[in-house]
């Protein structure tokens, strides 16, 4: 799972509706995989990314490349878009777990695939 998708995830346990984002990454193994830069796609995503959460998540993973605030000219700032591309589209979480900051539900990640299945009482 790429970091962009982690930024779109929130806990979906029944009744867990507040403070359920971002899911906290623990014991993760990361892998860099090259991908073609697609600036139009990144521009499309700029408004959807929760930037503060992304930066905080990255810092915990020792990824320090992103500026603390999104540049005002982000959509046409080539240098920024390249860094963003590397961080959110080329950084994959191979294994580890995601923990909900609210209800503490643990979503395990194996072979890059998060297990989002809930127990009956959590639906």
């Amino acid at each position: 799972m790429r970091l962009i998708t982690h930024n779109m995830l929130q806990c979906h346990v029944k009744g867990c509706n507040a403070n359920n984002f971002p899911l906290e990454l623990q014991e993760v193994v990361l892998e860099q995989e090259e991908a073609e830069l697609n600036e139009d796609f990144l521009r499309n995503m700029l408004g959807k990314i929760e930037y503060e959460a992304l930066v905080a998540t990255c810092l915990k993973l020792d990824i320090n490349d992103l500026p603390a605030a999104m540049p005002a000219d982000a959509a046409y700032n080539d240098e920024f878009l390249q860094i963003l591309h590397r961080v959110i589209l080329e950084t994959h979480i191979k294994s580890g777990k995601m923990v909900c900051p609210n209800c503490q539900h643990i979503y395990a990640i194996r072979d890059g695939i998060p297990n989002m299945l809930l127990a009956e009482h959590e639906v």
Partner: protein, 212 residues
């Protein structure tokens, strides 16, 4: 032959052997790709617009390949681990999740520019466990899907409805969750080629301004 969704839950029907067979069969693969291409067309995204697209019941990633070819970035989930394993072997380019559509999904509001789903929806009408209530599962699925789509986005489901009642059940749940839309039937006069696409719209994009 009986319908696969009558045999066992999907994660069993598409277990190890069947997952490999399903993906290795070039005729099935070709039909799947064709239906995925049609679903992507029905998403009606602007020409050349690289979207962030959800594939519900992505299986081994056959429809993901079509999305990829169209320049989209995709995220897919499936309830059958064996299918996801095949997706990994095939080096699927999308982000994969092990997830049950009937439990809803965990994406933030407005995440996706569109959703496609090939041959999955009829499974949600099953009650594979005593705790499964099709109407509740469909409602949870559609309500969380509605929220995860940006306003004005579409969700296109190719599916095999068993009868009119099933179509009404599915449509009723979708509409109660805020969707508008209807059924598109391709090749309506061919018993073999006939295909159903449920086309759902997640609200309106007013004057190009996204309504959240």
């Amino acid at each position: 032959m009986s319908r696969p969704e009558h045999q066992a839950p999907p994660e069993i029907v598409y277990g190890g052997d069947e997952a490999a067979k399903y993906t290795g069969n070039s005729r099935i693969a070709a039909i799947q790709a064709e239906m995925a291409a049609r679903a992507v067309e029905l998403l009606n995204l602007p020409e050349g617009y690289p979207g962030y697209i959800l594939d519900v019941g992505c299986g081994s990633g056959l429809s993901g390949e079509v999305l990829e070819e169209e320049g989209h970035v995709w995220v897919g989930f499936d309830i059958a681990p064996a299918m996801l394993e095949v997706a990994l072997e095939q080096e699927a380019t999308g982000d994969l999740f092990l997830q049950d559509a009937g439990q809803g999904m965990a994406f933030r509001p407005g995440t996706f520019d569109g959703c496609i789903s090939i041959s999955v929806l009829q499974w949600l009408c099953n009650a594979d466990k005593t705790s499964h209530h099709p109407k509740a599962r469909l409602t949870r699925f559609f309500s969380t899907l509605y929220s995860s789509l940006r306003r004005g986005a579409r969700a296109i489901f190719q599916f095999y409805p068993e009868n009119d009642d099933q179509v009404q059940l599915i449509m009723g749940c979708a509409v109660r969750c805020g969707f508008e839309g209807g059924l598109v039937v391709d090749y309506p006069n061919s018993k073999k080629a006939k295909k159903f696409y449920l086309c759902l719209f997640a609200g309106q994009e007013v004057n190009g301004v996204k309504q959240q």
